[in-house]
């Protein structure tokens, strides 16, 4: 078949197209919809009211342009508030239990004549790392995950995507990115895998590169802890936990704004293009299955995340203990490194120990706070009392933390580079070293930039 022939047909088609009115395409689409409406009107009749209407009435409120976003923020706030208010007591109980055990075990070792470095390495290093992770993370996860899974099960997440769609399309990104972002609240690596639902490679890449800007479960405990210790006490007792929850919501909203801003920037520069249209179905609301929620949130999520944290916390605990107990001159290695990092840390409102904690915590963001506490404790006095008051006293009076430190640490935690698992996932999904590097360094430099600006204008 000669291609000149095909060219002639195309030529003729173009000529014929010009004989049609300019709105030919719109008119065709309109006539299809009008036809569909007419036929459907004749073929189906709605007799009386039913659940159908009930669903629609709820949707009209939760996806309304006015109430949609505030309701979303409120639901999020309630979830965080329940998490903050509920997790404190069990966390403290777990911690004191673990540390009592640490002392007993260490005493047994010492009495049995074990060398001090063995006792220290196993009990004050590895075990303490584990104890911190479990007691800091387990209670909030046990509360947060079932609540989040319940929202998911109810069918609320597609409504979130619906509410956020107009923002994402204005940022040149795919509306389904709202869904992959929501997955990122669970785990950024899972969020990145979930971007497979986005067809366009350009929009998928935007979604992958920006997924890190919503805090994952590993980072929520950090945010919740800091908000509880530093922001809560700013107001009087009764509303302290509400203020703390509000702060976490605020951080999450900043994350969403940064996601949109970076998506916008990417799709105006290196990933130019238009947002593509898509159809989003709002499934009927379903009564959540309580047993299934408990199963998925406790087995699939809580234990999964906790296990991963434990696997990385044990070696991290060991590393920290070694850093704190190997002396060069009369100063420990940890002190050497954190001193070297101090100028950089102070420039962004943090300190060298925090940066060191972030370096040690690259395998898993879960262990940032435990790590930095261990470095502080390891280099200073040992303490068994791990109540929130004690943590605050340690941070504020001994290590000079201020509200700025807490705010910047929350911002840094929100924006900094993704954890090792997420970086590996990014590479697997893009198969591109370049985009993996971009996806790692872009958040990191943004974290430095934002915290530097905040520290400068504070």
């Amino acid at each position: 078949m000669s291609s000149s022939n095909a060219a002639a047909v195309l030529q003729r088609a173009a000529e014929l197209r010009s004989t049609l009115s300019g709105q030919f395409r719109d008119e065709t689409v309109k006539s299809i919809y009008a036809e569909a409406e007419r036929i459907a009107g004749r073929a189906s009749h709605h007799a009386g009211t039913a659940r159908y209407d009930f669903d629609q009435r709820i949707d009209r409120i939760v996806t309304s342009p006015i109430f949609g976003l505030p309701i979303m923020a409120l639901l999020l706030a309630i979830v965080f508030w329940l998490t903050v208010a509920g997790a404190n007591v069990p966390s403290a109980m777990l911690a004191s239990g673990f540390f009592w055990f640490e002392d007993q075990a260490a005493a047994v070792f010492t009495n049995a004549g074990a060398p001090w470095w063995l006792t220290g390495f196993i009990w004050h290093g590895v075990f303490r790392g584990l104890a911190w992770v479990v007691s800091v993370m387990l209670p909030p996860m046990m509360i947060f995950f079932p609540l989040f899974t319940m929202l998911e099960d109810l069918g609320y997440l597609p409504r979130v995507a619906f509410n956020l769609d107009f923002l994402f399309s204005r940022a040149g990104a795919h509306g389904k990115q709202a869904l992959t972002m929501a997955m990122g609240f669970g785990c950024n690596a899972a969020g990145i895998i979930s971007t497979r639902v986005i067809d366009s490679p350009r929009e998928r890449l935007v979604a992958i590169l920006t997924n890190n800007f919503v805090p994952c479960n590993g980072r929520f405990p950090t945010l919740i802890l800091l908000a509880t210790i530093f922001v809560g006490p700013l107001v009087s007792g009764a509303v302290a936990s509400i203020a703390a929850a509000g702060t976490v919501v605020g951080v999450v909203l900043i994350g969403v704004v940064v996601t949109l801003a970076v998506s916008w920037m990417l799709s105006r520069t290196v990933l130019k293009g238009q947002a593509s249209a898509f159809t989003l179905e709002l499934p009927p609301y379903r009564r959540p299955g309580i047993l299934r929620i408990l199963y998925t949130s406790i087995i699939d999520r809580t234990l999964f995340v906790l296990w991963r944290a434990v696997l990385t916390a044990a070696p991290a605990g060991a590393v920290i203990w070694l850093l704190a107990n190997i002396f060069v001159g009369d100063v420990s290695l940890a002190r050497h490194i954190s001193n070297a990092l101090n100028p950089l840390g102070h420039a962004i409102g943090l300190d060298g120990v925090i940066l060191l904690a972030y370096i040690i915590a690259i395998p898993a963001n879960e262990i940032v706070v435990p790590t930095l506490l261990m470095v502080y404790l390891g280099t200073g006095m040992m303490t068994d009392d791990v109540s929130l008051e004690e943590i605050k006293r340690l941070l504020v009076t001994e290590h000079g933390w201020t509200l700025l430190t807490a705010v910047n640490l929350m911002l840094f935690s929100l924006l900094h580079n993704p954890c090792a698992t997420t970086i590996i996932t990014m590479y697997k999904e893009t198969l591109s070293l370049k985009w993996t590097v971009v996806g790692t360094l872009l958040p990191l430099s943004l974290a430095f930039l934002v915290t530097f600006i905040v520290a400068s204008i504070w």
Partner: protein, 271 residues
């Protein structure tokens, strides 16, 4: 085949699920529909739980095939990806559209959600533009009843010009009537007159002029009218397929595999 209303007799009297025995099938049936309309439930009800799954050529989209026999005729059922439309550029829509255009299904069953007919009709009308051998399966009739929605399948059938059958795939209700309609349309004993966009007189003139040109360019092309409409719409992908000669290749490769064996029906995507 009897024409009596068989609401109560066992469907197994005539339906035999054949799972993965895809050899020597007589007719090919495509299964299209929006996502979440119970397409897979119908697929399983017809073919049994065993199915042959692979990927569509060059795509990471799962392709499921199964077989069943009805009234001594063997059918192969090809499950198309669930889509809302056949126009935009997602992989799923491209696969569904290419199979309807070049896979030469003897009948296409479009599964429609009885509780959301209007939304589902968008796809139905687009399928009718491509092929006239269509049976509408109005699924989830039980759910519609629970939601107090009355569905008049005869009105639907009259308006669309193809058979429409109300079914509940989950319970098997209405499947026998559906298969009778499929048998009728695929054998040609039931005549269909699908509803198609008429458009303005200029539009009709343009279509009637372009159609024969396309047919002479690619002899045996299954639906020159649809391609003409896409060209008038300025569909870059169709223009490209025409000028690169890929359209001609698709038609030719289709004719080679017209034997209805279980050999994979060649669908070359754009990638």
């Amino acid at each position: 085949m009897s024409a009596h209303d068989c609401g109560s007799c066992s469907i197994n009297a005539e339906l035999a699920r054949m799972g993965v025995s895809l050899d020597k099938v007589d007719r090919v049936i495509a299964l299209a529909g929006n996502p979440n309309t119970g397409k897979s439930t119908l697929f399983n009800a017809l073919t049994g739980l065993k199915q042959h799954t692979g990927n569509w050529p060059g795509k990471t989209v799962t392709r499921a095939e199964g077989a069943f026999a009805f009234d001594h005729v063997r059918y192969k059922l090809v499950d198309l990806p669930g889509t809302y439309s056949l126009l935009s550029a997602s992989h799923d829509e491209e696969i569904a559209r290419d199979f309807l255009l070049f896979g030469h299904p003897d009948t296409t069953i479009v599964v429609v959600d009885a509780t959301a007919i209007e939304r589902n009709l968008n796809l139905v009308l687009q399928v009718l533009e491509i092929t006239s051998r269509v049976v509408i399966a109005v699924n989830l009739m039980d759910e519609a009843k629970r939601k107090n929605i009355e569905v008049d399948v005869r009105s639907l059938s009259r308006d669309l010009g193809v058979p429409a059958v109300g079914i509940t795939a989950r319970t098997g209700n209405g499947i026998h009537a559906l298969l009778e309609a499929v048998a009728g349309v695929s054998s040609g004993s039931v005549h269909t007159e699908p509803l198609r966009i008429k458009g303005t007189p200029e539009f009709q003139r343009a279509i009637s002029e372009l159609g024969p040109l396309i047919e002479s360019l690619a002899p045996g092309v299954p639906n020159a009218r649809w391609i003409a409409i896409r060209l008038l719409d300025g569909d870059a992908e169709v223009e490209q397929a025409l000028s690169s000669g890929r359209l001609v290749e698709l038609v030719a490769s289709q004719q080679e595999t017209a034997q209805r064996s279980s050999a994979k029906i060649s669908l070359q995507g754009t990638q």
